[in-house]
């Protein structure tokens, strides 16, 4: 039996195909103005990689911000539940999940059964979300993916007076004009990002093990700053792209709903 999970986020759309034992294929594409188009494209990509026909998919669960727009979904489940499901499957010892997406940040506490105990979320303010890093990368004229490596080369982080993306942007421009190196600015940006996420983590209260998911998990400079700030080791998901955790959780739910064990 093949099932699918589809996670429509604000910036990317993800699909995971699962057969009850392993991930058969996955895809990550940019979300489309019409979320349905993105969902189809991501599904087609994943099916092509797994060389399976779309029609052989028994069940699909949609999740994420655009979950109601997954045209081929049999059911929808919240991203909190799907992230929890996915992370617990990958790491049964996980008790705190920090998920940083393109437009939000969630901190989820879970119990030993892998059920959600409590969660806090920020989707009101761009600071502490992927959007913050995106805006900063644009000001620094570097690709978002380069920001992390750039920050690691910095040795003297600049300080940003306020967490606010708009004010930070003005600060970064000011530092660039003063001739401060992009590396030191990038390091300051990652520190500010970690600080903002840290505030949310502390609201949720932290239990070990802690793992990080979502696109920003790939920015290891931010993760390292967050570890320093929180004084804990954060598990990096290596066997699966951390951005796929929600889609994986959706696929796991799909498998259960389709009668799989």
């Amino acid at each position: 039996m093949i099932v699918a999970g589809c996670d429509i986020g604000s910036l990317t759309t993800k699909v995971v195909l699962f057969d009850g034992k392993k991930i058969l294929a996955s895809s990550i594409i940019k979300s489309k103005p019409k979320p349905e188009d993105g969902a189809y494209e991501a599904l087609q990509q994943a099916c092509a990689i797994a060389t399976v026909n779309q029609d052989t998919i028994t069940y699909c669960v949609g999740t994420g911000y655009g979950r109601k727009r997954v045209p081929f979904a049999n059911d929808t489940i919240s991203e909190i539940s799907c992230h929890t499901k996915g992370a617990f499957y990958l790491y049964p010892n996980v008790r705190t999940i920090i998920d940083i997406g393109g437009q939000d940040c969630k901190v989820i506490s879970l119990n030993t059964q892998g059920e959600v105990d409590r969660f806090v979320t920020n989707d009101k303010c761009a600071a502490g979300t992927g959007r913050f890093l995106e805006v900063m990368a644009k000001v620094l004229k570097v690709e978002l993916q380069e920001l992390s490596n750039m920050a690691k080369k910095g040795n003297e982080a600049i300080t940003l007076a306020s967490a606010c993306t708009v004010w930070a942007q003005a600060d970064v421009i000011k530092y660039l004009n003063e001739g401060i190196s992009k590396e030191n600015i990038a390091l300051g940006v990652c520190k500010s990002m970690a600080k903002r996420v840290g505030v949310l983590v502390n609201q949720a209260s932290i239990k070990k093990d802690v793992c990080i998911t979502g696109g920003v998990a790939k920015n290891t400079a931010v993760v390292k700053e967050l570890e320093n700030l929180l004084g804990v080791t954060i598990i990096k998901i290596t066997n699966v792209d951390p951005q796929l955790t929600g889609a994986l959780g959706a696929a796991l739910f799909a498998y259960q709903k389709a009668g799989g064990k």
Binding site: K124, C125, A126, R131, S162, C164, T165, V166, W167
Partner: protein, 262 residues
């Protein structure tokens, strides 16, 4: 006795020149370089803009974000105190001041003598400041001075689901793409900023009369939005952007008098 107050804000520099209790001139300049550059430019424009010789000015009092960078100011005072003084001079019945500047917003409660009783301040989040309108006007590709005109053409307030400037920017783009009327969007933006500032104001409570000051108060659409949210009329003076500088000038005057008296 001629005295002057100088308010170096984040986006504009203002000066008010006072001859006893008469405002004889005001100057408003954009801040382009450093606060010090702006302060010096302001001084050098006094004669040209007002016909007053800078040497005739007995004392300057500085205020605002750049108050420490005014080389010719003999005294300085905080923005809040200056605003309170300035507003009380214009309308002694005012008990609450709502000031929205380019990079901050403040709400200040004053007594009948213009003394500050309580105040709250936001400079941490851009969404409750003039910058919110600046950035969203940019997305709409209209000059910020056109916002009031567009607001007047709107027939309904579009509800924005985001407060954060960064998220609102994206929302405005998708509203435009979906064909929403510009006037309605602008009305929605004014409403959003008004709600944000009103909640700041309500955190310390408001008492009438309420004066609306700062550069944003020149925007009639914003005045209307704030009046609707607070359900009351606001006092908006033609010198609404000059209250800090006016208060500073009054303080310069007071301090000279005190010096003479002692």
């Amino acid at each position: 006795m001629i005295v002057a107050g100088c308010d170096i804000g984040s986006t504009t520099a203002k000066a008010v020149i006072l001859d006893d209790s008469t405002i004889i001139a005001t100057i408003l300049l954009p801040v382009e370089g450093s606060p010090k550059d702006a302060a010096l430019l302001l001084l050098s424009s006094v004669q040209e803009k007002t016909g007053i010789q800078p040497s005739q000015i007995e004392a300057w009092c500085g205020t605002g974000y750049g108050q420490k960078n005014i080389p010719y100011a003999s005294t300085v005072e905080s923005e809040i105190v200056c605003h309170a003084k300035g507003v009380q001079f214009i309308d002694p019945d005012v008990r609450t001041i709502i000031d929205i500047g380019g990079q901050d917003a403040k709400v200040c409660r004053i007594d009948a003598y213009g003394n500050v009783q309580r105040y709250v301040y936001n400079d941490k989040c851009a969404s409750g400041t003039g910058r919110f309108l600046e950035i969203t006007a940019d997305v709409l590709e209209v000059p910020i001075t056109e916002l009031a005109t567009l607001d007047a053409k709107g027939v309904k307030e579009v509800t924005l689901s985001n407060q954060c400037v960064v998220f609102a920017e994206t929302e405005v783009i998708s509203l435009l793409n979906s064909g929403e009327d510009m006037g309605n969007i602008v009305k929605g933006l004014h409403r959003a900023l008004a709600s944000r500032v009103a909640s700041l104001a309500l955190s310390i409570g408001v008492e009438e009369k309420i004066a609306f000051t700062g550069g944003v108060a020149h925007n009639a659409g914003m005045v209307g939005a704030l009046e609707r949210v607070l359900k009351t009329k606001l006092v908006v003076h033609e010198y609404c952007q000059m209250m800090g500088a006016l208060g500073a000038a009054l303080i310069a005057q007071e301090r000279i008098k005190n010096r003479v008296a002692s």
